[in-house]
Symmetry: C2
Subunit: 766 residues, 2 copies
């Protein structure tokens, strides 16, 4: 862990260029708009270590699975987020010398991501051969107003010499994925055009036939004067470029504005692609860089109004939580229900940009609280659209009914190929059911059940009903051979969390059926017919609910993570040789498996999800038992512990856990940020602030707040959307102020006290 | 299952050529001599499907591991048995047309492997363009007299035309492994020479620097007349060939004799390789084909005298058991203690030709009974030589003491990379300890303990002592996270077999220490010092032995395969939909894992190994419980069930189980013989005959025989070597005759009756 970037409430700032840190910075300074994402690769040529990454949301590649030993049921491919046409490239040649920060001296380097504005800036002075000094300033953004548009302003100023400068903006489709399983190129070129009127290139994926067309327009200025230059044009199958050469005097600036539009066949007919791309980029050019940039700044201002969190008195925490919010908003906007949230968003190749249970278990609350409810709704509909594939998946694994959602997916099909995860981490099905409850509970939008939710719930319940088996020995239903959220156990029996989420799903499904029956009996009748629902089925579910086996330690009165957990040697993490941590880097897999150490919250995850069903003493006993055994080697773990610790009044532990999640990427805590940022765990960070320190819950349709602001913070403020209301919450020590910024009257429960908060009114409690 | 080959007591015979069956036949008709192995690839060009395979024992390649998701502790490479220089090739061109059985009509095709003689013959008539008919007859063997030598006699006779025939014998180092993980070529060429005096080629592996030099000499005859022809010579970096062109009249035969010597840097200095190879091949040529062949026939006759089994009244069984014995003798001769027995021997690439626990658990008894005891001893010394690597392996996995032998190995290092096998199938350590006991018990050679065995036993016991842990809940020692012999369970706790073999090893080690103390206290003192043995250590072992936990079903009074086994749904295999079998082709892995179905004997394996420690009732209860749940989807399973069934008087089951193992490859029972023959399971077949139907055991230094010859057989006869004696045993129904063919007096226990059998005497019991 290191603090490498400057502390600042609204920006991430890198001073001085360290090539060793460059790939990490490429991740951290990534920009995106939910439609495309761009790592902070330099515009100019860079021969040092760099992970090139230009990603178009939803454009993926089914890379042939790589496996040591094939097992029946493995998927044929692993979907990869695709490194797509490099649209940021601007080669720079000064008096015949190529600008390359890997080979020249660099001073006054600053890279700054303005989270407030959604803009990435960079400036430096490069010292070239013969001591020629040149200042470069670049400004870049991908628009959240017109999602197809990316724009760059690139300014070169020779400082101590008169220069001939050649700037070569390009679109380059000749790109690779670093994580390609078999070293394949994933793209074929389709068309390229490059002339005075238009410059574009269209690439197509070798499988699945995604087309991406990128179009470019450029303007050149000498100081502030627009230049009409005849560029030298190079057109290849898979790249197009224009070279502008211009003579400058020292201290005279050459400015290149590069507008790019990226459009894909996901949104347009293939035959339309070129026209749409060219139209977009021409419009952008007509609007002009300054106006586009101002629109961007305004749009981000609006976003921040809805989702900002202010932490006074702790600038590191302030920066970190804004970084989390910024990245989440960059990654998913909810505009496209076919999209979802990859664990690394569009900041790297890792995890293939695919969808994991992270979305339902960690991300949903953020979008529920900070955006219109249709955003969260679209996250749910994503799974509804995949229901048929989840049914297929269940059939493939031998189930005659029901649906098993995949552990990792791009289009609803399973991508992952470790049996202990692919086939056994079925708790994901529970999280997907829980998200429906979570959404309905938060928004009160019970119509969702009839429209989409109930079908999913029924099919998941059917899966559980088949996945359990009856143990003659125990005279109970058991669930054998699963992997719980704690992936440091594989193929265990009766994982408490999974068993619990299974019965919970069945119970909630029955409740949801009643709800739809009440509100929309016609729709229920439809669903009944369509899914061939039968009363015996519900009876069977109830029978399972009543007779499910849950492992328990009678003596300690804690829920046991799984059968046999007490046979392990229970030695607290703090009593391990500390050089053994993290265990996954020092212990062989079998040693981890037979140890008691917990990668991420498991029983505690259940106690968080189903928090209203367990009293504080139960939570305390389980927390006291499991927390000392948890190594938090998943970035998704500390947030849950932090939230529970807040609830239990373990303020110090809560803060310690929060610190482990808050600056994970900014401080490269896990030494892996070069692969991309941990986007979904940022949602966990957000939860640990709002659900943890803010104590937000929804109970019986009421928003609950139970503040426990860390003593290190002077105040904590955040805005939440709740059932049409917009509430600004400020907490200072034990004081809490809630301002209703909407006209909607809302009932709140603050520190056990129920209050009515009328439109545009404020309440204060001490 | 299909009976494709003709039934014959001494030969495997294929009539008519079926290209679909060719790769299977290439496996079945493999020839070898423990030093090299050769699949039955055609000499002439063949453009149809074929798995080329020329293997040199001990010459392997560390192919870079392929893995989906890397886990800490995985080995970097998987050793591959190397497809080496193709030395059988003889291209044939007749009147300009290349002979290729894939493209011409073939009639009167016969391929015959004479197991009696160790010779492979093939003859056919090919119908070429213009209806030209040509007869081809080839005879091939690899010598068990001079291991470096392979020889081929290849005769071409145009039947209905006068022909110009070109025969091109070659040595071709440009070969691949089909199972190469990353499509790599594994060989570099070193030197090649090709002139009238000598023809050779030397290849070197790209890693580990194994050198293989192959030298060739050829003679040509027209009918019986030796021809002096000037061949056309082609010499490339990686191949050498000589083309002989000769004109024949119809019905006139052209005969090519091809002598090859293959030598490797495993046996000779690199600088000597060429000289040795050329000398060998020149000597072979001087000896002549007929003499070499006669020597081969004589040598095999001697082998058969020691190891033959005669089954009267069941020709299919007779053929099958001889095939097993033949292949075992072809695979391992015990001459080279650096070698071992790969599950597929030298008949294919599968399993990499590496060493598994198969050797100790299944193969050792065959070599103990049919050969000089130094052969079996060398199999044990192989593991002794790997002790340091096994220690390293244990350190790598976090053990401060002791040794963990690898699951799969070529040179003592672990090659396998599935965590559930690599790290968890630690029962292999038990089998390696058991083999020491088995050898000493059979041979009475207790000196082996002091010389080699004890060190291995101590280090394995030390491993077990660390691998167990103390369960506070059970107040017993437990063993968590293992995979037993039944690989259809992974990561289970307290696998009965593994726990049992662990305590057994520790107990036997203590006993072995006493033995060495008695026989050779000086040596024991040495070992004591060398291994820093301490009394507390033995105390700890005894403490574990006394307090080890063994899962038991109290109600049924059976040992439980592992914790929680009774939570499974126990449905007999016969009650499954039969189209679901084999499960590994129809069920996903998780479904298999949580089912009760047993891939191969597990508890029963233990009851076989430690048969003298359990009474018949215990064996019966466990057999009755587990047999109905066993799917025998490992080729190593039915033999153990068959042996126990014999002991329990379950004659029908015993015979049924025997049939599943006996003709596995001949009838391609598992549909995978094209990958190679199941060599190690052939040792199981042998055991099911001699230990099963013959009822052979060694109790207290006495050879025990308890015949239960299947009613389908008129008689069963076999020879066993036992402590210097050579006993010919014949069983007919309840009659048993034992003939001592040596001068050594031996005590026997036949059907519970103890008899003294003096040298060269015979005993008969009814």
């Amino acid at each position: 862990m290191q603090q490498y970037y400057l502390l600042d409430p609204w920006s991430i700032i890198e001073k001085d260029f360290d090539p060793q840190h460059h790939e990490i910075s490429e991740s951290v300074f990534s920009i995106g708009n939910g439609y495309m994402g761009q790592r902070a690769n330099f515009e100019e040529k860079y021969s040092g270590a760099s992970l090139q990454g230009s990603y178009m949301a939803g454009v993926y590649y089914p890379d042939k699975t790589r496996v040591g030993w094939w097992k029946n049921g493995y998927p044929e491919y692993f979907a990869k987020v695709l490194n797509s046409t490099n649209w940021v490239a601007i080669d720079v040649v000064i008096d015949g010398q190529t600008l390359d920060l890997s080979t020249c001296k660099v001073r006054d380097f600053t890279r700054e991501l303005s989270m407030k504005e959604g803009i990435l800036r960079r400036s430096f002075v490069a010292v070239l051969d013969d001591n020629k000094e040149v200042r470069v300033e670049s400004v870049r953004f991908v628009s959240i107003v017109t999602k197809e548009i990316g724009a760059i302003r690139y300014v070169v100023t020779p400082l101590n010499f008169d220069a001939t400068i050649t700037l070569t903006p390009a679109l380059n489709g000749n790109v690779m994925n670093r994580d390609s399983n078999h070293g394949e190129q994933f793209w074929d070129s389709v068309t390229a055009s490059n002339n005075t009127k238009e410059t574009f290139i269209t690439m197509m994926t070798k499988k699945l036939d995604f087309y991406v067309c990128s179009a470019m327009q450029c303007d050149i200025y000498l100081d502030d004067n627009f230049q009409t230059l005849e560029p030298e044009i190079t057109t290849l199958d898979d790249s197009v470029q224009k070279s502008f050469t211009i003579a400058t005097q020292h201290n005279q600036s050459v400015t290149l504005i590069k507008y790019v539009a990226n459009v894909t066949s996901r949104d347009h007919a293939i035959t339309e692609l070129t026209r749409v791309a060219v139209q977009h980029v021409n419009e952008a050019k007509a609007t002009g860089f300054s106006t586009l940039m101002q629109e961007q700044i305004n749009a981000w201002e609006t976003k921040w109004q809805d989702s900002d969190i202010v932490i006074e008195g702790d600038i590191a925490a302030q920066q970190a939580i804004r970084f989390a919010i910024f990245q989440l908003n960059q990654t998913y906007t909810g505009d496209d229900e076919r999209l979802n949230i990859g664990p690394k968003g569009f900041t790297g190749e890792k995890y293939g940009g695919s969808t994991y249970w992270d979305t339902e278990a960690y991300c949903l609350p953020f979008y529920l609280s900070t955006a219109d409810q249709k955003i969260a709704r679209n996250l749910l509909i994503y799974r509804y659209r995949h229901l048929d594939k989840a049914r297929e998946n269940a059939r493939k694994l031998g189930y005659t009914k029901g649906a098993l959602y995949p552990m990792v997916t791009m289009n609803g099909e399973e991508c992952h190929n470790e049996w202990e995860i692919t086939f056994e981490e079925i708790h994901r099905n529970g999280a997907i059911a829980y998200a429906i409850y979570n959404y309905v509970n938060y928004t009160g939008d019970t119509s969702y059940l009839g429209e989409y939710g109930l079908e999913v719930l029924v099919e998941i319940s059917r899966f559980w009903a088949q996945r359990v088996s009856f143990s003659q020995a125990k005279q109970k239903y058991v669930m054998l051979g699963v992997t719980g959220p704690n992936e440091y156990e594989n193929n265990v029996n009766n994982n408490w969390y999974t068993n619990r989420m299974a019965t919970w799903t069945m119970a909630y499904t029955i409740q949801a059926i009643d709800q739809v029956q009440k509100e929309n009996p016609t729709r229920l009748a439809q669903i009944h017919a369509q899914l061939s629902l039968a009363d015996e089925e519900f009876k069977h579910w109830k029978e399972i609910i009543q007779n499910m086996y849950f492992p328990v330690d009678e003596e300690r009165q804690v829920f046991l993570q799984q059968d046999g957990f007490l046979d392990k040697e229970l030695i607290a993490v703090k009593d391990l040789p500390q050089e053994d941590l993290p265990l996954n880097q020092h212990w062989s897999w079998d040693r981890i498996l037979r140890s008691c150490y917990i990668k991420q919250a498991d029983v505690l995850q259940g106690l968080f999800f189903l928090g209203d069903q367990y009293d504080l003493d139960t939570k305390r006993r389980n927390f006291d038992f499991y927390e000392p055994l948890t190594v938090h080697e998943s970035s998704l773990s500390p947030c849950v512990h932090s939230i529970l610790a807040c609830e239990l009044g373990y303020n110090e532990t809560a803060y310690k856990m929060y610190l482990r999640t808050a600056r994970l990427d900014l401080d490269n805590y896990n030494n892996d940020t070069e692969d991309g940022c941990h986007i979904t765990s940022m949602a966990g960070t957000w939860m640990s602030v709002v659900y943890g320190f803010g104590g937000l819950r929804i109970h019986d349709g009421q928003l609950v707040l139970n503040p426990s602001v860390p003593k290190e913070w002077a105040s904590l403020s955040f805005t939440v959307m709740f059932r049409g209301a917009r509430l600004f919450v400020q907490m200072k020590g034990q004081n809490i102020t809630v301002k209703n910024e909407s006209s909607m009257t809302t009932w709140l429960k603050i520190k056990e006290q129920v209050c009515e908060l009328q439109g545009f009114s404020t309440i204060e409690l001490a």
